[in-house]
Structure formats: structure tokens, C-alpha cells
């Protein structure tokens, strides 16, 4: 058990190292200059620009820049934004709440509706409802998220005027929970749509797989009620693949939020990331990249831990 854990941690470290090197190279080698915004301001001389470049450490060789960045990161210093000189960690944490609220709400919506639809389909395989759910899931997965965003805005905000089309609360108004909820409904629904479809497909297949196994037939043969078979035997065994999906979906919620946040001008990590890419704000972009990579890898470790909770067979020491 501990051996497995240590080797997992080692693999996580390797993955993170590759992510940091690739991300760093991609960002720095891509055309564009973080100083371009300053070069436009009147009275800026080439000497001043050179001094700024030196101060930001951008005149050093790329490997050296990487090592400096990595060294600072390992001592807990995430660097400062090129744009407003705020510490990167402060900026990220400042935007994290909004994204977690949006992505968390969306995940809850998606898991409940998706899993319910999948279970329904699996227990009534081949029925009209089952086909309908399968087809609807594929359709939901085939349409880009931002299109739903645009159509929902055009319908519920522009046409009907029921819900606001963007932002996290009404500008200038004092904070109120009702106002906040109103702003949350559209983006959370849009973000939930595609992942609800994934959940429904996945749940259906997982449950259908379990239903086809011998021990279910045995349970039925010894006269257990269908209700008991479902809750005790089927659900418990279908839980494993669903835990895997939860781990896999974790990082995609963040990148899905990226587009949704853009459409609904939601002040979260996703928009911060797109802005930092546009302004070549390397420290912030790298910070978010590492942050999401750590979440993704940690997600898979947590998944493994949950596995042992859900599956008693894995609780004994592995050979």
C-alpha cells in the first residue's frame, strides 16, 4: 500500500515536471511580448524598456528563466503578475472562489441529472426512454457549450428578460443571495449540460455491465426483491467506474468553465487564464497551469483512495 502510494507520488512529480517544462516553453516561445503593452505608452524609451525587461528577468536565457521560476515556486513564491505586480497566488485565490461556485454547482447538477437518467436507462434497457436518453446525450455532447450559452442568453435574457446575461452580481447593487443565484442559474446550467450527458452515458454503461453479471442472476434466483438487488448489488458495484469518472471529470470542469466564463463574463479562473494568455502574463498563466495540473493529478490519487473505500477487495494489502 505505502509502496504503491510512493510510486504514485513519484509519477505525479514526473508528470508535473513535464507539464511545467512544456508549459513554460510553449508560453515563452509563442510569439508576442509581455512588454508590448508598456511599449505603447507615450514617452517610453528603449532604455526604460530594457530596464523593465531586465527587472522582469526576461532577458536571461530561457533555461535560466525556467530554473529561477522553478526555484522560487519550490520555496512557495509563485511570482508576481507582469500586469499589476500583484502576487500570483493572491490573484489566483481571488478568482478561485467564483470558479468553484460555478463549477461546483454545475457538477452537482450534472451528476444528479446525469446519473438519474443513466440509471433509468440501464434499468429499462431497450425501452423507448432508454433510446431517447442515449440519443439526447449524444446530441448534448455534439454541440459546443458556448452555443448553448448564446442561445440561452438570447432566449432568457434578451427575449424574456428573466435572467441576467452575465457577471456574478448586479453591478453597483449590494450583495444579496437572490441576486447571486439569479446570476448563477444560466452559466451553471450551460456548464452542466455536456457533463450531464457524459454522466448519463457512463452510468448507463456501468450499471448495464453489472446487470449482465452472474451474481445478479444468482441474487435474482435466490429470490431477492428487485429493489434490494438494485440498491445492494447493482449500485455498489457500479460505483467503481463512476468514481473513476468523477476523477476524470475534475480537470475538465475547470477547462469547461473557461469557455462558459467567457460567454457569461464570470470573474473566475478561466477568464483570468484567457486574459493572462492574451497579455502574455507568464507568471499568472504558469501559476494557473500548475494549479490545474496539481488538481488533475491529485484528483487521480484521491480517486484511487476512494476506490479502496468503495471496494473491499482492494482493502487487503496488494501482492
Amino acid at each position: 500500500m505505502t509502496d504503491a502510494f510512493v510510486s504514485r507520488l513519484a509519477r505525479m512529480a514526473v508528470t508535473l515536471a513535464i507539464v511545467s517544462v512544456t508549459g513554460f516553453l510553449l508560453l515563452h516561445l509563442a510569439p508576442g511580448d509581455p512588454l508590448a503593452q508598456f511599449a505603447l505608452s507615450p514617452g517610453m524609451t528603449a532604455t526604460q524598456l530594457g530596464a523593465m525587461r531586465h527587472q522582469m528577468g526576461l532577458d536571461a536565457a530561457l533555461p535560466l528563466q525556467y530554473l529561477r521560476w522553478l526555484g522560487a515556486l519550490l520555496t512557495g513564491d509563485w511570482g508576481r503578475s507582469f500586469r499589476d505586480h500583484q502576487p500570483v497566488l493572491t490573484i489566483i485565490l481571488g478568482h478561485l472562489g467564483a470558479t468553484l461556485e460555478l463549477a461546483g454547482t454545475a457538477a452537482l447538477l450534472a451528476i444528479w441529472t446525469g446519473a438519474a437518467a443513466g440509471l433509468y436507462g440501464a434499468f429499462r434497457q431497450g425501452s423507448r426512454a432508454d433510446h431517447l436518453i442515449t440519443v439526447a446525450s449524444i446530441i448534448l455532447l455534439s454541440i459546443p457549450t458556448f452555443w448553448f450559452g448564446l442561445v440561452f442568453i438570447s432566449l432568457f435574457s434578451v427575449r424574456l428578460g428573466w435572467l441576467p446575461s452575465g457577471n456574478i452580481h448586479t453591478v453597483g447593487a449590494p450583495f444579496s443571495p437572490a441576486d447571486y443565484l439569479k446570476h448563477l442559474i444560466l452559466p451553471a446550467t450551460v456548464l452542466a449540460l455536456a457533463s450531464a450527458a457524459t454522466w448519463s452515458r457512463y452510468t448507463r454503461n456501468a450499471v448495464a455491465d453489472v446487470l449482465g453479471q452472474d451474481f445478479i442472476r444468482t441474487a435474482r434466483a435466490k429470490g431477492l426483491s428487485p429493489r434490494k438487488i438494485r440498491s445492494r448489488h447493482v449500485l455498489r458495484n457500479a460505483l467503481l467506474p463512476m468514481i473513476t469518472l468523477a476523477g476524470l471529470q475534475f480537470p475538465t470542469l475547470l477547462s469547461g468553465a473557461l469557455v462558459t466564463e467567457t460567454v457569461f463574463t464570470w470573474p473566475g479562473i478561466g477568464r483570468l487564464f484567457l486574459d493572462s494568455l492574451e497579455y502574455r502574463d507568464y507568471p499568472v498563466a504558469m501559476g494557473i497551469l500548475m494549479f490545474s495540473a496539481v488538481l488533475a493529478t491529485a484528483g487521480s490519487i484521491v480517486t484511487d483512495a476512494l476506490y479502496t473505500v468503495a471496494d473491499p477487495r482492494l482493502r487487503q494489502a496488494r501482492p
Partner: protein, 282 residues
């Protein structure tokens, strides 16, 4: 032949084939019949609703014919999807074939790399890679294939490793078959089905990726129409004209739903477990 018949029996799959075929045909046959080209501006007839005069689907903010633009965009999307699929399938088959067959260090390195790349948000990869080249169809094909080949590679690698210990492979190897013979004559026919499925789904994914990149402004550049950048333009005109946003989405949906249906149907049709009644589990 058997597979085709099984595929056509699946209702959603044949519906998918019809959708994609109709869309492809429309992209080729309809544009020459339209009175206006996709780039022709007509400031006297802006924001016309669908079904108005010579514009079957209306006009956009500077009076360009929407149907002409949609079809031009769809053609670009299909071309990008097919080319990116071809590129990523070839790359994925070669890398996955080599790592699955030879294993060893190359495999460990490649799989670590794939793991790491899967850690990146796809949009980040698409946007940063897009900034390296001139924005346009060729660049999008390049970056989409760069992102998509890994999945093919994983599938091929996994399938080959699953087949390695089967009796017929061991037998062929014992008879002294060369690596080329084994890969092309023994493995390839056995995993072709899996490759076809991933590749079909990859065409759909490439079309979606184009839409995302162009929507965020780094893809096909105006005035050249693409389904993604039409949606970006439409965002400003949701109030006067929601059609501008609805129509490109429907075309994307037709293409991607069609391809996903086909891919899904292929998976079922090619699965030997599904071919006859239950019982023959292997």
C-alpha cells in the same frame, strides 16, 4: 460487408450517415446555385430574417448571405475535420504501433508524455499552439492533430498489448515472421475496427475544436467565414438578430451529431460480442 450491413441496421448510425452525406452534398452542390457569394456585402439589406427574397436564410450585419456563409464554413469545418483525422490517425498508429509492439523505454516515455499533455486544459493547448502559426485552416489542422494523435496512439498501443499474448500471434512469431509482417498483416486487421471508431469520433472532435478556437478569435479569420467565427460575430447582435447565433450552431450540431452517431454505431457494429445473441463472450 457484414459490418456495413450491421451498421445500417442501427437506426441512429444510418441517420448519422444521412446527416453527414446531406451536409457534404449541400456544401458541394448548393453554393453555385446561390445568387450571392459568402463574402458579398450588401449594406441595403442587413439583418434580413430567414426566407426573405433571394436570401433563403437571411443576411448578417453587413448584408452577406447567411446560407452561403454557412455552407462555406461547413466545408472548411469538414475539410479541417477530415485532414486532422488523417494526420492524427497516421501519427497515432505509427507511435502506438511501435510502443505497443516494442514496449520498453520508448513506451514509458511516450505514455508519460501523453499523461502530462492530458493534464493541460485542451483550450490552453489550442490557443497557445495557434499563436505560433498564421491563423488559418492549415494551422488549425496542425494543432488539432497535435492534440488528437495521442488518443489514437493510446488505443493502438493498448490493443496491441492486449493481443500480444494471444495464441495466433505467438504462433506467427514462432514461425519467424518479421516485425513488419506482424504489425501490418496480423495486428492491423485485428485492431482496424478500433482505429476506425476513434478516427470517426476524432473528425467530430476536430470540428468542435475548430469552432472553439475560431470562436475565441484565434482560428479562421474574418472575412473568411467559419462556423466558429460566425458565432463570435453573432454574440454582438443577439438582440436584433438571434438567428445569426442559432443557425451556425445548428450546422455544427448536424455535422458533429452525424459523425458521433456513425462512430457510436461503428463501435457497436464492429464489436464481435454484439454480432450474435449473447453467450459468445469472447
Amino acid at each position: 460487408m457484414n459490418t456495413v450491413r450491421r451498421l445500417l441496421k442501427i437506426r441512429t448510425a444510418s441517420a448519422g450517415l444521412v446527416l453527414v452525406a446531406l451536409l457534404a452534398l449541400a456544401c458541394v452542390l448548393v453554393p453555385p446555385l446561390l445568387p450571392r457569394g459568402p463574402l458579398q456585402i450588401d449594406l441595403h439589406h442587413r439583418f434580413l430574417p430567414p426566407l426573405s427574397g433571394i436570401h433563403p436564410l437571411g443576411t448578417d450585419e453587413i448584408g452577406r448571405d447567411i446560407l452561403a456563409r454557412l455552407l462555406a464554413g461547413a466545408r472548411t469545418s469538414l475539410l479541417i475535420g477530415l485532414s486532422a483525422m488523417a494526420l492524427s490517425t497516421v501519427t497515432g498508429c505509427i507511435t502506438g504501433g511501435l510502443t505497443g509492439f516494442y514496449g520498453g523505454w520508448t513506451r514509458i516515455i511516450l505514455m508519460r508524455l501523453v499523461d502530462a499533455v492530458l493534464c493541460f486544459p485542451t483550450i490552453f493547448l489550442l490557443l497557445t499552439l495557434a499563436s505560433f502559426g498564421q491563423p488559418g485552416a492549415a494551422t488549425i489542422i496542425g494543432i488539432v492533430s497535435l492534440v488528437a494523435w495521442m488518443e489514437v496512439s493510446r488505443v493502438v498501443d493498448g490493443q496491441i498489448r492486449a493481443l500480444r499474448d494471444r495464441e495466433f500471434i505467438v504462433a506467427v512469431e514462432a514461425m519467424g515472421a518479421s516485425a513488419t509482417h506482424m504489425l501490418l498483416r496480423e495486428f492491423l486487421p485485428n485492431i482496424a475496427g478500433a482505429i476506425v471508431v476513434v478516427s470517426t469520433l476524432n473528425v467530430a472532435r476536430a470540428i468542435l475544436m475548430e469552432a472553439y478556437v475560431s470562436y475565441l478569435g484565434n482560428g479562421i479569420q474574418p472575412p473568411q467565414p467559419s462556423l466558429g467565427n460566425m458565432l463570435n460575430d453573432a454574440q454582438e447582435y443577439l438582440r436584433p438578430d438571434p438567428w445569426l447565433a442559432i443557425l451556425p450552431g445548428i450546422v455544427i450540431a448536424i455535422a458533429v451529431i452525424g459523425l458521433n452517431f456513425i462512430g457510436d454505431g461503428l463501435r457497436t457494429a464492429l464489436d464481435p460480442r454484439q454480432s450474435n445473441a449473447s453467450g459468445s463472450r469472447r
